[in-house]
């Protein structure tokens, strides 16, 4: 009997699915070796098909997408129970990614904007918010509940391995899949739990071909404000690059295209908080001798928090932006 493979998308854009199909003819090896039992994006399966499987029936599950709604969480728990090996596939499942940026806000403020204040909401539907249960003459209709905070997969279920990237690079998916097939075919031992597959164990800078000179910068430039030198380190030129705080594995894709690394491969090994690491890295790059100078330079960087945690807000130490402290009438914080 063939080993069984499941792929699922929770709160994601579908890019990970495309990255899987992007492994080209290798996909035939995958289809040949595995029995694909669940892949809603590509083939027609129902949740009840998965529910009917015995526990641990699926050999390998690639789970992409963050946990945004009750449906995402339900499927994560369901697939965890049914799978022997659970892989957080792609940046969303790994550390929250772009959906995790919603942790700058909360459910109410997101609903307020999307269903009321957004310019694309027309007059008659202004302020009509989704409700979980709606009573109709034919019966009750239910939609998933929207959580206040976006979570990563491993904050909800036990995860065995991680494949980072937004999306994971196709050649890295091939590497990971080939390794898995080899392990299953030849009965080899599995890598230790928690291993990050399909990525390096250094930083993006390690793969970057650009030349780093110990230069100090006086300001940051936005991409439209400067034509970057193709051979010189982007940070040295004042272009925000997350390279020093990002795991290697993508073969320095963005920097080779003259764009600063955005940080999608997540924190490097032994780093818990990608943004904090970036603060550390920048403290050796910016040319400031006083706090005022440092602040002036930092002011040329738009939205530092969103830039440093673009892909890892949901898995960062603080996990979300705090709601504004409530002040009482005298201006003192209200602790109630």
């Amino acid at each position: 009997m063939k080993p069984k493979l499941a792929l699922y998308w929770a709160s994601s854009c579908g890019g990970c699915e495309i990255a899987v199909v992007d492994i080209e003819t290798k996909i035939l090896d995958v289809a040949d070796f595995f029995d694909i039992v669940f892949w809603p994006c590509i083939m027609d399966f129902k949740y009840k098909d998965v529910e009917a499987m015995p526990d641990g029936d699926i050999t390998l599950c690639f789970f992409n997408g963050a946990i945004r709604t009750s449906e995402n969480e339900h499927l994560a728990k369901l697939l965890r129970a049914k799978s022997k090996v659970m892989v957080a596939f792609g940046s969303c499942a790994h550390e929250g990614c772009i959906p995790g940026l919603a942790n700058f806000y909360d459910k109410n403020s997101i609903f307020e904007f999307v269903y009321k204040n957004s310019p694309s909401v027309d007059e008659q539907s202004k302020g009509i918010y989704p409700v979980t249960v709606t009573k109709m003459p034919e019966g009750e209709i239910e939609i998933p509940e929207f959580w206040n905070t976006v979570k990563t997969l491993d904050q909800v279920v036990d995860v065995d391995y991680y494949i980072p990237g937004c999306p994971p690079q196709s050649f890295q998916i091939v590497n990971a899949v080939t390794a898995v097939i080899d392990i299953l075919k030849n009965n080899k031992p599995l890598p230790p739990k928690g291993t990050v597959l399909g990525a390096g164990d250094k930083t993006c800078c390690d793969e970057c071909p650009r030349e780093r000179k110990e230069k100090k910068i006086k300001r940051f430039y936005r991409p439209q404000e400067i034509i970057p030198d193709p051979n010189e380190c982007l940070l040295d030129q004042g272009i925000m690059c997350m390279g020093p705080a990002t795991r290697s594995g993508c073969d320095a894709l963005c920097v080779k295209a003259n764009i600063g690394c955005r940080g999608c491969y997540g924190a490097p090994p032994n780093v818990t908080d990608q943004g904090a690491k970036m603060v550390s890295a920048l403290s050796s790059v910016i040319d400031a001798q006083t706090p005022e100078e440092a602040r002036k330079i930092m002011e040329t960087l738009v939205d530092p928090l969103g830039t440093f945690y673009r892909f890892s807000m949901a898995s960062s130490i603080l996990k979300r932006v705090q709601p504004k402290t409530h002040l009482d009438s005298s201006g003192k914080p209200d602790f109630s």
Partner: protein
């Protein structure tokens, strides 16, 4: 929070003090029997530049109401320029904390030399007072 709890609440301060200046300064404050804040939990580091921003965020996460970093005066760093890195780092962290919705006054950077026991004493008391005004840091997940 209930009134009784509010009365008994006192801030928790995590202080990262550099081995060569502020830690010795804190020691001097103790030896000189000066009154300093009992809310401070001291962690000695070899240099204020050793304080990774991760430590600060983690301290807040684990229940600190305020974090203090103490180092040598600018120009006096035992490792010549470690405290310049601290200065830039703290300024950046303050910007991030502000965006995080945490009052940046909860993070304090002070240059206190080995001979400034009195400065250590009144700085910690002042920080404690300020945190009492800001109230407990309650993080939501």
């Amino acid at each position: 929070m209930s009134t009784t709890k509010e009365k008994s609440w006192s801030p928790r301060i995590v202080a990262f003090l550099c081995n060569w200046c502020t830690y010795t300064g804190a020691d001097l404050a103790g030896v000189s029997r000066l009154k300093s804040s009992p809310s401070v939990r001291v962690i000695r580091t070899m240099c204020s530049g050793r304080v990774d921003p991760t430590f600060v965020l983690k301290a807040f996460k684990l229940g600190a109401d305020g974090v203090m970093i103490g180092g040598c005066h600018i120009g006096d760093c035992h490792y010549s320029e470690g405290n310049f890195k601290t200065l830039r780092r703290v300024e950046m962290l303050k910007i991030l904390l502000d965006q995080y919705g945490i009052d940046p006054r909860r993070l304090r950077l002070e240059w206190i030399s080995a001979s400034e026991g009195d400065k250590y004493a009144h700085t910690t008391l002042d920080f404690e007072q300020q945190l009492r005004e800001l109230g407990p840091l309650q993080l939501t997940e």
